[in-house]
């Protein structure tokens, strides 16, 4: 099976674009990724498009209607917050399978403001606020409090994660926000679901990201200078756990995918130079330090206290600003974090550059549950 390389990748600056259409936002990133690869839409053999909000709306085809209708096969995917990573992985798999040499993956989302989850009524009466809360800030607060129960993790430790990611985003011009948020500001912000304050919740934004994936043969033909090798592409769903009927388990799923990813790449967590992981809430990031093996179980609090996950630390996490500050356009997130890693591996990340980065990891979780992990490696 051929190795797979990212030849072009880019994202738009995340923001709010209520006057644009979803395909129009996706098309912009697609063109940017094609330019980055030095290729045109006519060179693409297939398109894998991730979008959640219009999952039945043929977004991929409508993107091609904006940038070039070549007649190539288009697959639209939806997989909650793992949607973008799933589109990328389908693209990767098509090259692995030997079907194609050059394919395009696009992730795009247009979001409203406000709370996600918990609004469904179904039959009878609304259950929100009656049988607990299904809102995302609450669901991830409960997951974080499980960690607090086990290891004594504190509100302040969770809050520090948000301070870190907002700080990182001040160096990322493509992030939604570039604002420092000192610890006091984070802890005193409006409480949404304890222990997540408003500044500890990801930002709902519109955005898109895209990648051109190629086979090794094609990569050699085009030139390896800026190519990034995909060392692993792993995906898992939630295995049975005792509480997962009422408490979506983001841990077991991530651990399964991480194990697979490390095995595919033939490396361990100690070989990873930077990570973009799914900080949909500050409480979530804490869990994934352990889930991804960046530290031992119970040591996540220490990772943030001792600065190991900051830019300049042992393994910087979410130097892009993460979902907390860069923003979280659901379907785009899984490709935007691949863009971030590739930018570091290419040495093009400017002020936030992780010096000497050779191997990076991306991670997303879609509740329900889907986990997507990619390991990427510098080639030259």
């Amino acid at each position: 099976m051929s190795d797979v390389y990212v030849m072009g990748v880019d994202m738009i600056k995340f923001g709010r674009f209520p006057d644009r259409s979803v395909p129009n936002i996706g098309a912009e990133a697609a063109l940017m990724a094609l330019d980055d690869a030095g290729l045109g839409i006519q060179d693409m053999q297939a398109l894998y498009c991730g979008n959640l909000g219009q999952a039945s709306g043929m977004v991929g085809q409508r993107i091609l209607q904006e940038i070039g209708q070549t007649g190539m096969p288009v697959v639209n995917v939806a997989n909650a917050c793992a949607t973008g990573a799933t589109a990328f992985r389908e693209a990767w798999m098509s090259i692995k399978a030997g079907m194609y040499d050059v394919v395009l993956a696009v992730g795009v989302e247009q979001m409203g403001k406000g709370l996600l989850g918990g609004a469904g009524t179904g039959d009878g009466i609304p259950k929100e606020g009656l049988l607990g809360s299904g809102t995302m800030p609450c669901v991830f607060a409960e997951a974080g409090m499980e960690h607090a129960k086990e290891y004594g993790t504190t509100f302040e430790q969770f809050a520090k994660i948000s301070v870190k990611n907002h700080h990182h985003s001040t160096m990322n011009p493509k992030a939604m926000y570039q604002i420092e948020t000192p610890l006091d500001d984070v802890m005193n912000a409006e409480m949404i679901s304890y222990p997540n304050t408003k500044l500890m919740c990801s930002v709902n934004v519109d955005g898109s990201a895209a990648a051109v994936l190629v086979s090794e043969k094609k990569a050699r033909e085009l030139g390896m200078a800026r190519a990034v090798k995909v060392r692993a592409s792993a995906m898992a769903s939630d295995p049975y756990t005792d509480r997962d009927l009422v408490m979506p388990d983001v841990n077991a799923c991530t651990r399964l995918a991480a194990k697979d990813a490390y095995e595919q790449a033939g490396i361990g967590p100690e070989d990873v130079n930077l990570v973009e992981l799914h900080d949909c809430f500050a409480t979530a990031e804490m869990l994934h330090y352990e889930n991804l093996g960046l530290c031992k179980d119970g040591e996540a609090g220490k990772m943030i206290d001792e600065g190991h996950v900051e830019l300049g630390g042992k393994v910087p996490v979410n130097v892009s600003g993460g979902l907390l500050s860069k923003g979280h356009p659901l379907g785009a997130t899984g490709i935007a974090n691949i863009y971030e890693i590739c930018t570091h591996l290419r040495g093009e990340a400017g002020k936030r550059q992780v010096e000497g980065a050779k191997i990076g990891m991306t991670h997303v979780i879609g509740l329900g549950t889907a986990c997507g992990i990619h390991i990427l490696e510098k080639t030259s």
Binding site: L115, G118, A119, G124, I125, P126, K127, E128, G129, L130, L131, G132, S133, T135, P137, C138, A141, E142, A143, M145, E146, A148, K149, F155, E190, M191, I192, S193, Y194, P195, N196, Y240, D242, R243, L245, V246, M247
Partner: protein, 136 residues
């Protein structure tokens, strides 16, 4: 006044006696589910489910204090995950406790109680019976 309806299908309101929560337990592996099912998603056994009456006692596994919810929903309230004695985990509101993280203790014993669903009615005007958790 007509009898209230159950808020979820696993809340049972018998003709006589107290309401209770019903579970389905796999006879092969012991996994406990809420709501009717035929196949065990833990051990994959088919047609091995038995209907059980879930305990009305348990311990607090995790919680969050909800300050921002949807319009019309009273806040703050405690969203709680409770492990029931003898198996089964359920989620609901923890009531009769101050919504203060210093007052709510992990693993604290709680009981499952039943009461009107905070005055909520469906389109036909039916009342509902819900379950809640209360500290013991």
């Amino acid at each position: 006044m007509s009898k209230p309806l159950p808020v979820v299908d696993y809340l049972k309101i018998p003709e006589k006696g107290e309401p209770y929560l019903e579970g389905y337990r796999c006879k092969k592996c012991g996994a406990t589910y809420l709501g009717e099912r035929n196949v065990c998603s833990k051990c994959f056994a088919r047609d091995e489910m038995e209907v059980i009456r879930l305990s009305d006692k348990g311990t607090l596994h995790s919680f969050a204090i909800v300050y921002r919810s949807f319009p019309g929903i009273d806040v703050p309230y405690v969203s709680a995950i409770v492990d029931l004695e003898g198996g089964g985990t359920i989620k609901g509101n923890l009531i009769n406790i101050e919504p203060d993280p210093d007052k709510i203790k992990f693993s604290m014993p709680v009981k499952v109680t039943f009461g009107d669903a905070l005055g909520r009615k469906d389109k036909e005007g039916n009342s509902y019976l819900s379950y809640f958790f209360e500290p013991i």
